[in-house]
């Protein structure tokens, strides 16, 4: 625990230094922190607020406004399932249902084995090959429930 805290601290200081002097630096900083350590903790918020001369409430307000930013550590992989109209038109609700059942969680939750965090997406821009699922940065098209089961099995074995 102590080691990761330290790593996280030095990582945060490096990120803050890299963004010094940037116009409107808050979102880029939050992205960099989440990319590096997976989430944005209350301690991160406090340190970022001090560096940017903002209140903690202001930074927290931004973190909590955007769906993408998370305040808790996610599973090893993040599974985005599209819920939008084009995917619904291709029975995407069945794929959604399968994802929730197989991972045993609702949106925002992490599977018991800690492997997958399930998130809802509202359009991944792959609407001509719906339904669409994205795992980390890997996109999948025409994802039926059967295909999702196979894809998740493949990621489990990575």
């Amino acid at each position: 625990m102590a080691a990761t805290e330290l790593d996280s601290d030095s990582t945060l200081e490096r990120i803050l230094a890299e963004h010094a002097g940037m116009e409107g630096p808050l979102l880029p900083i939050l992205h960099a922190v989440q990319d590096a350590v997976g989430h944005i903790s209350a301690a991160h918020v406090a340190r970022i607020a001090r560096a940017l001369n903002l209140s903690r409430a202001e930074v927290h307000g931004v973190v909590s406004f955007y769906h993408y930013f998370r305040q808790h550590e996610p599973g090893r992989h993040v599974v985005h399932v599209c819920r939008a109209e084009a995917c619904q038109a291709m029975r995407g609700e069945q794929t959604e249902l399968h994802a929730r059942r197989e991972l045993g969680v609702d949106y925002g939750g992490t599977s018991a084995d800690g492997l997958f965090t399930l998130e809802a997406a509202y359009c991944l821009g792959n609407c001509a090959a719906a339904p669409t699922v994205m795992i980390d940065e890997k996109l999948y098209g025409r994802v039926t429930p059967e295909r999702l089961a196979a894809i998740l099995a493949e990621w489990r074995n990575r």
């Binding site: 808050l26 931004v62 955007y66 109209e85 038109a89 359009c123 609407c127 001509a128 090959a129 025409r142």
Partner: protein
């Protein structure tokens, strides 16, 4: 002799296995001892044929095969793929396929043809000719050219692009900005993404021309974080343009400065609304601003700002290259030029079609789209994203034209078309529209923040068969309040899908489930 092969790196092609196909091809070539170079290009837009493989034949023509999965590769190579030999998957030249030949490709002319991040390839295909011409003109002349082309905002609002530019040009300010709205959040739309992945330099050039025209030295591309592939392509393209002097303190030796930065969004649909996007770029919660002042007068960090959609800015290079009249000659009525239309949802042949305004929905759904993917009748179509109206079959002959769509209470929006077959339950789609609004509302105004949640509750009662008539009346009242009382298009237009569903598919709101 080296065989040249082209495979898409577009996210949609990757989602259907283009990376695996590429790897299998390289493996097969190595096993055969064949010398093969694979260039990853954008997508030709025929998503139903992805992964599409194009092989250059002895005559230098690109011969297409598709869809080619990794499993198809060994047999295809045995059959003579590297010699462009016949095979059931062989399609011939893409330009000769009816689906492609019937299009008018102006903005997407290079997509799928060139290496997206090669400046040399871009220039060899007409790239930067527009900027070179712009550099010989005054700012007012450039703005006049854009005005004369009739280009209207392709993000959905259809406001004349030239008027935004003229307003920014008229402002006196030491710092002005060009911002690209690349927060393409509408379901059923992906043309921004395809242009950014397939021809990112086209957007870079369009923004550079905008900057030169109005005297802005800094540009931002606000990209939604759901599009990591587009982010990679844009950063690579910007780096390549900068290295060649097309961006930086002295653009093409003109003495004028312009540079660009990509900023990632964070999963908030509201950022597609331009003032919310500006708030987000400034590092704040993306709450919609009151207008006036207009962003053209007080935009990013309070400075005069051009804010345009990807396709609007991406259409500027061809307008400057070939002149306003060339662009304006396409289209109908007050909708000039072309629109990259996205065919999505339950269609057999989904993808991107660039056509002049005036093409009818029916042509798009059946001639291009090939009817439903499921083989069942198409019952409803949503045009223009989650805030667009649902249209029944009786309206399929409407031409794609901003005014014609307004006249039937619908919108063209960003040109996304989502088709549904006859299994769709329109009351559920209406509920989803309200649910989406509740999830994505920025919370600043009450009709949107509270109205959307109440809307879900009222539709739930209708779905449960509770006092359907009374609840329908209440839903219509609520929609009227949201439409007229909301601060921006999210709350103001969510009633479009809801009311159109009630109007055109009343049976779905009165039956028992």
């Amino acid at each position: 002799m080296t065989v040249r092969i082209y495979i898409s790196r577009d996210a949609a092609a990757q989602a259907l296995g283009a990376d695996e196909t590429t790897a299998a091809l390289q493996l097969a070539a190595a096993a055969k001892g064949a010398s093969v170079t694979v260039t990853r290009v954008g997508s030709r837009g025929m998503v139903w044929l992805e992964p599409l493989v194009e092989v250059e034949d002895a005559g230098g023509q690109r011969i297409a095969y598709g869809p080619v999965t990794a499993d198809d590769v060994p047999e295809l190579v045995r059959a003579g793929l590297f010699d462009a030999a016949p095979h059931p998957l062989r399609l011939g030249r893409v330009e000769e396929l009816p689906w492609f030949a019937k299009q008018e490709r102006l903005t997407f002319a290079r997509v799928g043809v060139i290496d997206p991040v090669s400046v040399d390839d871009y220039v060899a295909h007409g790239g930067y000719a527009g900027l070179q011409r712009a550099l010989r003109m005054t700012g007012a002349e450039i703005v006049h050219e854009v005005l004369e082309s009739g280009l209207r905002g392709r993000g959905g609002a259809a406001f004349p692009t030239g008027i935004k530019w003229r307003t920014v040009l008229e402002q006196q300010s030491p710092q002005k900005y060009v911002v690209c709205n690349a927060d393409e959040g509408d379901s059923g739309t992906f043309s921004d993404r395809m242009l950014m992945e397939g021809d990112p330099l086209c957007l870079v050039e369009g923004m550079t021309i905008a900057g030169i025209a109005v005297g802005a030295t800094k540009g931002y591309i606000y990209l939604r974080c759901e599009y990591p592939h587009a982010g990679h392509a844009l950063r690579e393209a910007i780096g390549a343009a900068r290295a060649r002097g097309y961006l930086g303190p002295d653009v093409c030796g003109s003495g004028k400065a312009f540079d660009l930065e990509v900023r990632m969004g964070a999963g908030a649909y509201i950022c597609g609304e331009e003032t919310a996007l500006l708030e987000s770029l400034e590092g704040k919660r993306a709450e919609v601003r009151y207008r006036p002042p207009l962003p053209a007068i007080k935009g990013l960090f309070g400075q005069p700002t051009i804010i345009n959609n990807v396709i609007s800015l991406g259409s500027v290079p061809v307008i400057l290259e070939r002149g306003a009249a060339h662009y304006r000659d396409f289209g109908m009525g007050r909708s000039r030029g072309t629109l990259p239309i996205q065919l999505a949802g339950n269609l057999k042949r989904g993808g991107l079609v660039e056509k002049a305004f005036g093409v009818t929905l029916r042509e798009l759904l059946y001639d291009f789209g090939g009817g439903s993917a499921s083989g069942r009748p198409i019952r409803a179509v949503q045009v223009g994203g989650p805030l667009g109206a649902y249209l029944p079959e009786s309206q399929f002959d409407t031409p794609l034209d901003y005014e014609a769509f307004t006249a039937i209470g619908a919108l063209v929006g960003h040109g996304g078309i989502v088709a549904f077959d006859d299994t769709v339950d329109m009351a559920r789609m209406a509920r989803y529209a309200m649910e989406f609004c509740a999830v994505e509302s920025c919370g600043k105004c009450t009709p949107c923040r509270i109205g959307s949640t109440r809307g879900v509750e009222v539709i739930d009662r209708i779905l449960q068969g509770i006092e359907q008539q009374g609840n329908l009346t209440q839903l219509e009242d609520l929609c009227e309040t949201m439409q007229h009382g909301s601060l921006c298009g999210l709350g103001g237009m969510t009633p479009f899908p809801v009311m159109s569903a009630i109007r055109h598919f009343p049976g779905d709101f009165s039956r028992d489930r």
